[in-house]
Amino acid sequence: MNCEIRVELPQHLRTLAGVRGEVTLEIAGPVTVRSVLDAVEARYPMLCGTIRDHVTQERRAFLRFFACGLDLSHDSVDAPLPEPVMKGEEPLIVLGAIAGG
């Protein structure tokens, strides 16, 4: 079954991708951080390497993942996302840490 997932990107990445507001992506199969980021990078290739490292696939240190009031940053990227995210009721939020000028 395909799911319509909402993703909220930091402002600089929205500018880089040329989008406004949230982006909506269709995902077939398990809805996880990994599958959502795969879909983000497939739709917006200019974001490859900006959220996770090309080689290690590690989340960039100053970025965090939140959804439904939960901090998912340190969960497995293969863990299922909360049901409201799968249903498109809540976005997966990619947030830049507040640090420095």
Partner: protein, 371 residues
């Protein structure tokens, strides 16, 4: 009618300044990539409308931007800089081993002859090349494979490969410099490299005349004499007349031999420019006077150029890639400051004027002379 295009990378975006050959009135375009650090921008000598910009962020890593219309529009190209093989370790600040990690591109150097080929100097120090206009990158790993790589250590600004010089008379010869490892040369197109630091002396390292470990800030070359190199080192201005095999100091009467930027006049290969900076640790012009120093004899004898530059209460820095020359007659000289001014001289440095001011801190300045 000639035209000049100045490419300015800053802490918070990129700016493109244009003027006709008189260089009196300037149009400012930007900020491009507002809010991002732009470490460097440079145009292709083969196709001057082809520009590359290194867009970096502590949050989002490296993005490579390319323009094919002289900076009016930009597109992202490849940003996958993967070290060849098992990267291994280099020295960390405390002397312990530290894994090699790509952080950003400090310098792009487009090929002198191949329109789609461009080199990138990276932090952590490595040289990458793209042969498809920046879409795909591969490491020229013979540089790190030279054997001294595990002993390289970062300078205050990181362990960056910041200088790439292509020999216009020998396509196989190239020079690079790394802070704080030193200078290296290849004579076989990047397959193998040798350190070229003989004659450099650095009192702050255990062996002041070591083969590697010298803090080289920048190197400059005149295209008509590619075997003659000029270097601004952490301390000392140096000169080599044998393609870097040996160096001698030419600091002469400079008020301080510390600085970052160095460049060569477009038509006079013995005329060179530096901006002396007070150090260690202070990194601003001595006495608060912003002075470019010019030598017309390839070093040793220097004259202060002050007309149009602030001569009191000026505490900016001029970074290593923030000086460039155009090829008009008279030669134009340009430099940018950490205070956000870009100064230009249209008379070889005799007089100066700010062509834009109040930009974010300037990281890099490159000039294109368009016919």
């Amino acid at each position: 009618m000639s035209k000049v295009r100045v490419l300015v990378g800053t802490k918070k975006g990129a700016f493109v300044l244009t003027s006709d050959g008189k260089r009196e009135k300037w149009e400012v375009s930007g900020p491009h990539f507002a809010g991002w650090e732009i470490y460097h921008m440079k145009g292709s000598p083969v196709n001057p409308e082809r520009l590359y910009a290194s867009q970096t962020s502590g949050w989002f890593g490296q993005v490579v931007q390319r323009s094919d219309d002289g900076g009016k529009t930009w597109e992202t190209v490849g940003n996958k800089f993967a070290y060849d093989g098992v990267p291994g370790t280099h020295q960390w600040y405390d002397g312990t081993p530290h894994p090699w990690e790509f952080k950003r591109v400090w310098h792009f150097e487009p090929s002198l002859t191949e329109a789609e080929t461009v080199y990138a100097g990276a932090e952590d120090a490595a040289l990458f090349v793209s042969k498809d206009g920046g879409q795909n990158w591969e490491e020229l790993s013979g540089l790190r494979g030279h054997g001294s790589g595990p002993h390289w250590a970062p300078g205050a600004g990181g362990m960056c490969l910041h200088t790439i010089i292509l020999d216009p008379k020998d396509a196989k010869r190239m020079y690079i410099a790394i802070s704080a490892a030193g200078a290296f040369r290849t004579d076989d197109g990047g397959a193998t490299w040798k350190p070229i630091n003989r004659g450099l002396r650095s009192e702050h390292i255990p062996d002041p005349t070591a083969e590697v470990g010298h803090c080289v800030h920048h190197i400059a070359m005149h295209p008509s004499r590619p075997g003659v190199l000029f270097m601004q080192k952490h301390w000392d201005v140096m000169r080599s007349d044998d393609a870097g095999d040996t160096w001698r100091e030419v600091s002469g009467n400079l008020p301080t031999d510390f600085g970052f930027a160095i460049d060569v006049h477009a038509h006079e290969p013995e005329t060179i420019y530096v901006v002396p900076i007070k150090s260690d640790g202070e990194h601003f012009p001595p006495e608060g006077k912003l002075r470019v120093y010019r030598s017309r004899s390839g070093g040793n004898e220097w004259e202060a150029l002050t007309k149009g530059l602030p001569q009191k209460d000026c505490y900016v820095n001029v970074l290593r890639d923030a000086m460039a020359v155009d090829t008009l007659d008279k030669c134009g000289v340009y430099f940018g400051t950490t205070g956000g001014q870009v100064y230009a001289s249209s008379d070889c440095g005799d007089s100066w004027m700010p062509i834009v001011r109040d930009l974010p801190a300037v990281f890099s300045v490159e000039v294109q002379t368009l016919r």
